[in-house]
């Protein structure tokens, strides 16, 4: 895939994808309500700093090293602004999330050397809005706020695309 991509590149990550793009190199990054770990941190370590009193993501205990979301609570927690049919499909089509992925530490945080953007989603139940704010502030990202669920990239593609467009424009 690398070979077929023209430079420059804007990396866009949602949720755990934020950790991936942070580690993936040094490109401009757009975080869509995503984890933005620093060097030495992991998604796991970030989650452990989230407030314990707020709504918790309905993550089931790991099975064979993989996590799943409770299908019954998926709609409310992950995709509250999608139709129940769409949310049900997402819940039933879940991809197991490896514990190693959550525990993988960042060797170098791209946002330390590259500009970044952050789409802050105010009704997210997977990453608490306050945690989004603190990560976004730390990265020095240009922050855009919007109301919506964690599945904002499905429910409001235009809002997400607008932010990506802004980032792309900053490059060119």
């Amino acid at each position: 895939m690398l070979d077929s991509i023209d430079e420059p590149v804007v990396l866009v990550g949602h949720y755990y994808g934020g950790a991936v793009i942070t580690e993936a190199g040094t490109h401009d990054e757009v975080y869509i309500t995503a984890f933005a770990p620093d060097q030495g941190e992991s998604v796991q370590s970030l989650i452990s700093t989230f407030p314990a009193d707020g709504p918790q993501p309905p993550i089931l205990p790991p099975r064979n090293g993989y996590l799943f979301l409770d299908r019954a609570k998926f709609h409310e927690a992950f995709a509250a602004d999608l139709t129940s049919d769409d949310a049900a499909f997402l819940a039933d089509a879940q991809v197991p999330w490896g514990l190693d992925a959550l525990g993988g530490t960042i060797s170098r945080a791209a946002w330390r050397v590259k500009p970044s953007w952050y789409l802050h989603v105010s009704d997210d139940r997977m990453i608490p809005p306050a945690a989004q704010v603190s990560m976004a502030e730390r990265t020095g990202a240009t922050v855009v706020n919007t109301a919506g669920s964690h599945a904002i990239y499905v429910s409001q593609p235009k809002t997400v695309a607008d932010l990506i467009r802004t980032a792309a424009a900053a490059i060119s």
């Binding site: 690398l2 590149v9 950790a19 490896g98 060119s172």
Partner: protein
């Protein structure tokens, strides 16, 4: 090839006494064996022998070593001239033994030879792959060697891929400087590829590119001929890096105007790319037409990338390319910093050949700054390293250093042979064939009139000297005496071609001898036209004897127009790449000899000199380029993955003829519990906007997987 143990062979013994009398061989007091007196004699004997003689010698040696199976098989392999599975098998076995005993370079060479002698294609393929693996092992950096071992083993279990072979050749060349094995490896592998080569076939193009590099360092006409035959197999057009390389690096003097335009375009395009391989390649091609300065910004990015742990091998190349530019721009402090950094990396990573240009540039500056011991040592080491490997380009580097050194000491009787050595002895490809053969031609007329340069505090006086003009201008020619007579002699010999010029940079420092002092003083003060005192620091240097003056190479006259003539002149001369450097030196010399104009203009208002010094010098030296650093957004890092070696990096960072566009590619990376399909809406919107969009499918098993499913390495891990 060695005769050290050949005494048991009766035939050899018969022929030895004359050789011993001639001082070619002798009994080594250390080993008690018959040996060549000097490695260079051995190289020379080998060089002068025909291939038939070599075959016969190897056959004799094979017989002589019947008690030493390893050597016997080695020589058997070298003496065979037709495919022979038995010999090939023996060689393969020996290769295994050599590897076990830690002699992986030889092990690779044995295996390459085994592959060459293998009649059956599949066996040959297998042996090539194995040789490729060994080659990678030999020179891969230590951190990655374990991983490399694994990868290469995987590669060799299948049919050998051209990519593997290329990686191995690359390693062989840049590490051990084993151009011969690298060339044979590549040619054999390319020959095994059936049909015409597709320019979109990345491994094939990489192989060709590596081949061109091999040829460049080897500086041998027969290598270039083989390469041209391979290039002819490519259905046109060549990828632009390869095209530029082939047209400009192979034979800059004959570069067609179209090729130069192509080069200019490619260099201009470097602003928009972050591919370190592409940047260093294009810049390297540009080096020979004095265009590195236009690639400084991208090269600087490559260096920065390497410092952050990115493509370190490319960082080294970029550092030396920048140093090359620094040399001609007179930024010698920058040069020393860059070569320091690059050479340290070379040492750490074992990039022995890659280090050579750095050592060469460093030695030139050492010489110019009066550190002649260091320069001598560097030249000696370069030569000793290059000779057994038959790397003529490096030998020419060494000759050039020696020549500069000799000239600096006014030892013209030494300098001339050094030049001639560089030109003839080391260069079988003196006359490039049409279509581009890079022979190696050091600057024959390198006549820098330079007294010994000084140390840190030395002040500068630059006056590159076109031999004749300088003599006339400085008045040394009028002095009579042996030296100036020699000057004149030399000047006359170079006269027919105004291109045969000197280096620049006249540095003058109190010499030990009174006469030298006097000459130096005259050289500077007499007409005060050929040489203009220049201050480098905060003080203007009085043009009086006894001052410390060392060449900075910074010239000051705004005659930038001359610089532009490089292409046409280079084009007209029909010469090799080495000569194009000479053109550059020419142009520099031209500027410098034009100094009287500047002297009149700039003298005497000192403050104005101060103000104007920097601008003028930079403009003249051609370094008045835009050095602004582009926004970091264009930089990307080829990350050095923990535990991964250069094979990996190489494969990963391979260049493509990319269409350069400023519109970024958008890569969408999903998070946990979902896959990439959720991006459809965003994808559609961005596509409608005209963006190139990719959606990554990440298994989200581990962050390391995530890395490899991200754009950086998805291709490799599938």
């Amino acid at each position: 090839m060695t005769l050290e143990n050949c005494i048991p062979a009766p035939q050899a013994r018969v022929n030895l006494p004359p050789a011993e009398r001639a001082g070619i061989v002798g009994l080594s007091p250390r080993s008690g064996r018959m040996e060549f007196r000097h490695p260079l004699i051995r190289a020379a004997v080998f060089e002068l022998s025909t291939s038939d003689e070599r075959h016969r010698a190897h056959a004799l040696l094979a017989k002589a070593f019947d008690t030493d199976p390893r050597r016997r098989v080695w020589h058997l392999g070298q003496s065979a001239d037709t495919p022979d599975e038995d010999v090939a098998m023996l060689l393969e076995a020996v290769s295994g033994q050599l590897l076990e005993s830690g002699n992986s370079t030889r092990a690779t060479a044995a295996l390459v030879r085994a592959a060459e002698l293998t009649p059956a294609p599949e066996d040959r393929a297998r042996r090539i792959a194995r040789a490729a693996y060994l080659g990678s092992l030999v020179t891969g950096d230590l951190h990655g060697s374990t991983r490399l071992l694994l990868e290469a083993q995987l590669a060799s279990s299948d049919a050998p891929t051209l990519a593997t072979v290329t990686a191995a050749a690359h390693q062989l060349l840049n590490g051990e400087g084993d151009a011969s094995s690298a060339q044979r490896l590549l040619i054999t592998a390319l020959d095994a590829t059936e049909g015409p080569l597709d320019p979109a076939d990345v491994p094939a193009m990489e192989a060709l590119q590596t081949l061109v590099f091999v040829d460049f360092y080897a500086g041998r006409a027969d290598f270039w001929a083989d390469t041209r035959a391979q290039l002819a197999k490519v259905v046109a057009p060549l990828p632009d890096t390869l095209a530029v390389f082939n047209s400009v690096l192979a034979d800059p003097a004959r570069a067609e105007p179209d090729a130069v335009l192509e080069l200019n375009r490619a260099i201009d395009g470097l602003r928009f790319t972050s591919d370190p391989v592409r940047i260093t390649r294009i810049a390297a091609a540009g080096a020979h037409l004095d265009r590195i300065r236009f690639a400084r910004e991208p090269l600087t990015r490559v260096v920065a990338d390497g410092r952050r742990g990115g493509a370190v091998a490319k960082e080294i190349e970029a550092l030396f390319l920048l140093a090359n530019d620094d040399y001609f721009a007179g930024e010698w402090d920058d040069l020393e910093a860059a070569t320091d950094e690059g050479l340290t990396l070379c040492d750490e990573l074992g990039y022995l050949l890659t280090a050579a240009p750095g050592r060469y540039l460093r030695a030139l500056v050492d010489s110019a700054r009066g550190r002649s011991a260091a320069a001598d040592r560097a030249a000696e080491q370069l030569l000793l390293w290059a000779a057994p490997r038959r790397l003529y380009t490096l030998a020419a580097y060494a000759s050039h250093i020696r020549c500069m050194e000799a000239l600096g000491k006014e030892q013209f009787e030494l300098g001339v042979p050094a030049c001639c050595l560089g030109q003839s002895r080391w260069n079988p490809a003196t006359v490039p064939a049409p279509g581009g053969v890079a022979g190696v031609r050091p600057r024959r007329g390198s006549l820098a009139v330079r007294s010994r340069g000084g140390g840190q505090r030395a002040r500068a006086c630059c006056a590159g000297v076109r031999a004749r003009r300088a003599l006339t201008a400085t008045g040394t020619a009028d002095r009579g005496g042996r030296s100036s007579h020699r000057h004149r002699e030399l000047a006359r010999t170079v006269r027919p071609s105004p291109r045969h010029t000197g280096e620049r940079a006249v540095g003058v420092r109190p010499g030990s001898g009174e006469s030298r002092l006097r000459r130096a003083a005259q050289a500077r003060a007499r007409p005060r036209r050929g040489v203009h005192p220049v201050d480098v620091g905060d003080h203007r240097v009085p043009a009086a004897p006894g001052d410390s003056l060392a060449g900075t190479g910074r010239s000051r006259t705004p005659r930038g127009g001359r610089r532009r003539t490089g292409v046409s002149r280079a084009h007209a001369t029909g010469s090799s790449r080495r000569r194009s450097r000479r053109h550059r030196a020419d142009q520099q010399a031209d500027r410098n000899t034009a100094l009287p104009v500047a002297a009149d203009r700039l003298d005497p208002p000192i403050p104005r000199v101060h103000q104007a010094r920097h601008h003028l010098a930079r403009r003249v030296a051609g370094c008045d380029r835009p050095r602004q650093v582009r926004p970091a957004s264009l930089t990307y890092v080829v990350r050095r993955m923990p535990g991964r070696g250069t094979l990996d990096t190489f494969a990963r960072a391979h260049p493509r003829a990319r269409e350069q566009t400023m519109s970024p590619t958008i890569v969408l990376v999903h998070g946990g519990f979902v896959d990439g399909s959720g991006w459809r809406g965003v994808y559609d919107v961005l596509r409608a906007d005209g963006f190139d969009v990719r959606v990554v499918q990440n298994p989200t098993k581990s962050l390391a997987d995530g890395r490899c499913d991200s754009p950086r390495c998805a291709r490799l891990d599938r």
